[in-house]
C-alpha cells in the first residue's frame, strides 16, 4: 500500500467512523428532548424513563464522537499538511465557529446528563434544547468546510497561491446550502430509523410494552418526516453537483457520452475502458430531467474530461445507487406509516410494518456512508476541486500504513465495545408494573375513541 493510499484510507476510515456518532449526536438530543417535553406535558412516567434511557445511550455515543472528532482535527494536519497550510486561512473560520458549537454542546450535555436532580425541570429541558441546537450547528459548520472543498470560493489565485482571501465568501460557497441541508436531514432520518428499528424489534416480542410503544412513536415521527424530505433535498444536491462538479455527476450516474435527453442508468456496471455502462436499466431522458429539471437538457459525459480527472466510476456509481435506493425505501416506509396513522389515528403496529421498520434500521446510516463516498471519492483526484490535487497535499511522513492499521484496529475495537454496551442497555428493557401497564393501554384506547 503506498503512502497516498494509506493516508486516504485512514482519512476515509476515520470519517466513516466519526460520522455515525456525529449523526447520532445531531439527532438524538431532539429525541430526548421530545420525550422529556412530553413528560412535562402529560406527566406520564414512561416518557421520563424514556428520556433518561436515551440520554444514557447518547452519553456513550457522544463520548466516542468527541474523541474520534479530536482525532480528525489533528489528522487534517497529520495527513494533509499542505492542504491545511493552503486552505487553513480560507476555511478555518467554520472550524473555529464549530469549536464554539462543541463547547455549548459539551457543556449543556454535561448539565443534561448529570443535572436531573440539580436544576428545575424547565431549565433541564432548556439544556437539552441547547444540546440539540448546538449539535446541528456543529454539523453544519464542518459540512460547510467540506462544501468549500467541492466548490471553492472566497479567494483568488495568483501564481497558484490564494490571495484576496474572504472567509465569509468562502463559507457562503455555492454547495454550502445543499450539503448542510442534506446532511442535517440525513442525521434525523438515519438516527430516527435506527432508534425506531430497535424499539420495533423489542415491541415484536413484547407487544404491550408501553415504553417501546412511546419510543417507537417519537422515533418514527422524527425519522419519518426527515425521510420524506430527504429525496427533495437530494434533488437540490444533485442539481448543485450537475452545475458545479460535472465530472462527479457523470461519474455518479455512470454517464459516459455527452448527450441531450440523457437517460438515467439504474444499476449497471460502468466499464471505463469501453466507455459505457453495461447491464443498466435505462430510463430515457431521466438524467436530464433529474439533473436540470428539463428532459431535453444536454448532460456532459465523462468523455469530455481528461482521463486523469475521472474519479473511480465504479465506486461512485455503486455508492450513489445504494444511497438513493435506501432513501427511496425509507421514504416508502415513512409514507406507509403516515397513511396507516392517518387512517387509524394510532401507532402503526401491524406485524408487517414493524418487520419493515426493523429491516430499515441500518438503512439511514448506510445511506450516509454511501453519500459521503459519493461526495469524497467523486471529488478525486482533487482535494480542493480544480485547485489542489490530493497527492499534492500529502505529508512527507512515510510509513503511513502503520497509523492507518493502528487506528483501524482501535476503531474496530471501540465499535465492538459500543455495540456490546448498547446491547447490555437495550437488553435491560424496562417494564412497567402490570397494573399501570394495563391502565395506560386502556387510557390510550380511550383517547383513540374520543
Amino acid at each position: 500500500m503506498n503512502d497516498l493510499l494509506a493516508a486516504r484510507s485512514q482519512m476515509a476510515m476515520s470519517l466513516a467512523f466519526h460520522i455515525i456518532f456525529a449523526a447520532i449526536g445531531i439527532a438524538m438530543p431532539l429525541l430526548m428532548v421530545a420525550a422529556e417535553g412530553l413528560y412535562l406535558r402529560t406527566r406520564e412516567e414512561v416518557y421520563l424513563t424514556l428520556a433518561k434511557r436515551w440520554a444514557k445511550g447518547t452519553a456513550i455515543l457522544f463520548a466516542v464522537g468527541a474523541v474520534s472528532g479530536t482525532v480528525l482535527s489533528f489528522e487534517l494536519g497529520l495527513l494533509w499538511p499542505q492542504f491545511m497550510s493552503y486552505a487553513g486561512a480560507i476555511i478555518g473560520m467554520p472550524f473555529s465557529l464549530e469549536g464554539f458549537a462543541f463547547f455549548t454542546e459539551a457543556i449543556f450535555l454535561g448539565i443534561y446528563l448529570y443535572g436531573w436532580q440539580k436544576i428545575s425541570p424547565r431549565a433541564h429541558l432548556l439544556a437539552g434544547l441547547m444540546v440539540a441546537l448546538s449539535g446541528v450547528l456543529s454539523g453544519v459548520f464542518v459540512v460547510i468546510a467540506n462544501a468549500w472543498m467541492n466548490s471553492p470560493a472566497g479567494f483568488e489565485l495568483l501564481d497558484g497561491q490564494p490571495v484576496n482571501v474572504d472567509p465569509i465568501a468562502a463559507m457562503l460557497n455555492p454547495m454550502a446550502l445543499s450539503q448542510t441541508l442534506h446532511m442535517t436531514i440525513a442525521a434525523y432520518a438515519a438516527t430516527g430509523f435506527a432508534v425506531a428499528g430497535i424499539h420495533a424489534f423489542q415491541l415484536r416480542r413484547d407487544r404491550a410494552n408501553l415504553f417501546h410503544r412511546r419510543a417507537l412513536a417519537i422515533a418514527l415521527v422524527i425519522g419519518g418526516a426527515a425521510a420524506l424530505m430527504q429525496p427533495l433535498s437530494g434533488d437540490l444536491s444533485a442539481r448543485a453537483v450537475a452545475r458545479l462538479q460535472p465530472v462527479k455527476l457523470a461519474a455518479l450516474e455512470a454517464h459516459f457520452k455527452t448527450e441531450a435527453r440523457a437517460p438515467l442508468s439504474i444499476g449497471g456496471i460502468p466499464d471505463e475502458e469501453r466507455g459505457e455502462t453495461l447491464y443498466a436499466i435505462k430510463i430515457p431522458g431521466g438524467l436530464s430531467l433529474l439533473a436540470f429539471h428539463d428532459i431535453d437538457a444536454r448532460v456532459r459525459g465523462l468523455e469530455e474530461f481528461p482521463r486523469d480527472e475521472w474519479p473511480n466510476t465504479f465506486i461512485v456509481h455503486a455508492a450513489f445507487q445504494l444511497m438513493v435506493g435506501m432513501g427511496t425505501l425509507m421514504a416508502c416506509i415513512a409514507l406507509w406509516g403516515a397513511i396507516s396513522w392517518w387512517r387509524t389515528r394510532r401507532l402503526p403496529e401491524g406485524r408487517w410494518f414493524l418487520r419493515a421498520v426493523v429491516v430499515a434500521a441500518p438503512m439511514g446510516m448506510l445511506a450516509i456512508e454511501a453519500g459521503w463516498t459519493v461526495t469524497e471519492v467523486g471529488r478525486q483526484p482533487w482535494i480542493i476541486q480544480g485547485v489542489m490535487r490530493t497527492a499534492a497535499a500529502l505529508t512527507p511522513m512515510r510509513g503511513l500504513v502503520v497509523p492507518f492499521v493502528t487506528f483501524t484496529l482501535l476503531y474496530i475495537f471501540l465499535a465492538a465495545m459500543v455495540v456490546w454496551l448498547l446491547f447490555r442497555q437495550v437488553a435491560a428493557s424496562p417494564r412497567l408494573p402490570p397494573d399501570e401497564q394495563r391502565r395506560e393501554t386502556k387510557m390510550e384506547d380511550k383517547s383513540v375513541v374520543g
Binding site: 444514557k56 452519553a59 456513550i60 457522544f62 463520548a63 466516542v64 468527541a66 474523541v67 474520534s68 472528532g69 479530536t70 482525532v71 482535527s73 489533528f74 494536519g77 497529520l78 499538511p81 499542505q82 491545511m84 497550510s85 486552505a87 487553513g88 486561512a89 478555518g92 473560520m93 472550524f95 473555529s96 465557529l97 464549530e98 469549536g99 464554539f100 462543541f102 463547547f103 455549548t104 459539551a106 457543556i107 449543556f108 450535555l109 454535561g110 448539565i111 446528563l113 448529570y114 443535572g115 440539580k118 436544576i119 490571495v163 482571501v165 474572504d166 472567509p167 465569509i168 512527507p396 511522513m397 497509523p403 493502528t406 487506528f407 482501535l410 465495545m417 454496551l421 447490555r424 435491560a428
Partner: protein, 330 residues
C-alpha cells in the same frame, strides 16, 4: 495590538484553560491508578464524580487551540503536524482510549469485571497522554524542528526523542497530577478523603519541584533560546518570583488545609509556567523558523477570527460559569 498577536494570545489562553481544566481531568486518572488504602473505592468514586460532568467540555479547549492554530497560523500547524507526526498520533490514541474508557466505565449498566478493566485503561491512558502532550510542547520549544521552504528538514524522530522534551512530558504529567489532587480536596466534605488528596497533592508538589529543576537544567542544551529568554529577559525574574510565590503559597495552604487558597495558588503556578514558556519563546511559534508574523494568515481571516473568538467568549464563559456552579459548588 495587531490581530495576529491577539489570536496568538487567545491560543495561549485556550492552552492555559486546557491545562488547568483538561489537565486536571488527566490528573484524576493518575490518582485513579494510585487509589490505595481503605478508602480506595471512595477515592475512585470521588474522582469519577468530579470528572464526569465536565471532562468533555474541558476537552474542547484542546480543539480550540488546534483550530486557532490552523486558522490563524496555517504554516505553523502544517509544520508541527508534519514534524511531530509520531508523538501526536500516539497522543491521539491516548485521547481516544482515555475518553472512551471513562465513559464506558461510567455508563455500563452492570458492575463487574469489565468495569475494572475500563478503569485500568482509563488511568493508564491518563498517564500516557499528558506525557506526550508535554513532549510535543517541549519539542516545539527545543529549536530542533527545522523548516526549510515549508518543508521539514531533520527527520521525524530526532526533534522529540531527546532528554529535554521527555523531561517536559514528565513535568506536564506531574503538574496535572498536582492540580488534580489539589482540586479534589474541594470536591468532598469528607475530611478523611480530603486528607488523602492533601497528602497526594503535597507529594506531587515535591515531584513538580524536582522536575522543574530538571527541565531547567536540561534546557541549557535542550532548548537554548527558551533558556535565554527565561534567564535574561527583563520580565524573567519577576515571573520566576511570582511562580515561586504561587508554589510556596500552594504548599503553605495545603499544609494549613486552606484548600480554596491552595486551588488558586496551584492554578496560578501552572498558568505562570505556561506563560513563562510562551513569553520566552515569543515571537516564535516554532523555534527557530516560524514566527507569529511569518505564519500569520491574511489580515481578513485574522480579524474575523479575533471577532469570532471575542463573541464566542461572551457565549462561552457564562455557559461554563453555569456548568461549574451546578456541579462544583460544594
Amino acid at each position: 495590538m495587531s490581530a495576529e498577536l491577539l489570536a496568538a494570545g487567545a491560543m495561549i489562553v485556550a492552552l492555559t484553560f486546557y491545562a488547568l481544566l483538561g489537565g486536571a481531568d488527566y490528573g484524576g486518572g493518575v490518582w485513579d491508578l494510585f487509589a490505595a488504602g481503605e478508602r480506595a473505592s471512595k477515592q475512585r468514586a470521588l474522582i469519577a464524580d468530579a470528572i464526569g460532568p465536565v471532562w468533555e467540555a474541558n476537552h474542547v479547549w484542546l480543539i480550540l487551540v488546534v483550530v486557532i492554530l490552523f486558522t490563524g497560523f496555517p504554516p505553523a500547524f502544517a509544520g508541527i503536524a508534519t514534524a511531530l507526526h509520531i508523538p501526536l498520533t500516539l497522543m491521539l490514541i491516548g485521547v481516544v482510549l482515555r475518553g472512551a474508557a471513562f465513559t464506558f466505565r461510567t455508563y455500563d449498566v452492570q458492575r463487574d469485571d469489565a468495569q475494572r478493566r475500563w478503569s485500568y485503561v482509563f488511568s493508564v491512558a491518563s498517564i500516557f497522554t499528558p506525557i506526550l502532550l508535554g513532549l510535543t510542547l517541549g519539542a516545539i520549544a527545543s529549536g530542533a524542528i527545522k523548516i526549510e521552504n515549508g518543508q521539514v528538514a531533520g527527520g521525524f524522530v530526532r526533534s522529540w526523542l531527546a532528554p529535554f522534551p521527555l523531561a517536559v512530558g514528565c513535568f506536564a504529567l506531574a503538574l496535572f497530577a498536582f492540580l488534580a489532587a489539589v482540586y479534589l480536596t474541594l470536591e468532598t466534605n469528607d475530611t478523611a478523603l480530603q486528607d488523602d488528596f492533601r497528602k497526594r497533592a503535597l507529594a506531587a508538589g515535591v515531584v513538580v519541584g524536582g522536575l522543574a529543576l530538571l527541565v531547567f537544567l536540561l534546557s541549557g542544551a535542550g532548548a537554548p533560546s527558551v533558556r535565554a529568554g527565561l534567564t535574561r529577559s527583563v520580565w524573567a525574574w519577576p515571573l520566576h518570583a511570582a511562580t515561586a510565590l504561587c508554589a510556596v503559597g500552594a504548599f503553605w495552604s495545603l499544609w494549613r488545609r486552606a484548600y480554596r487558597w491552595a486551588r488558586w495558588c496551584a492554578a496560578g503556578q501552572v498558568a505562570l509556567i505556561l506563560w513563562g514558556w510562551a513569553l520566552a519563546q515569543f515571537p516564535y511559534i516554532v523555534e527557530p523558523d516560524i514566527t507569529i508574523h511569518s505564519a500569520a494568515a491574511p489580515h481578513a481571516t485574522l480579524r474575523l477570527l479575533v471577532v469570532a473568538l471575542g463573541l464566542g467568549a461572551l457565549l462561552l464563559f457564562p455557559s461554563f460559569y453555569y456548568l461549574f456552579r451546578i456541579f462544583k459548588s460544594k
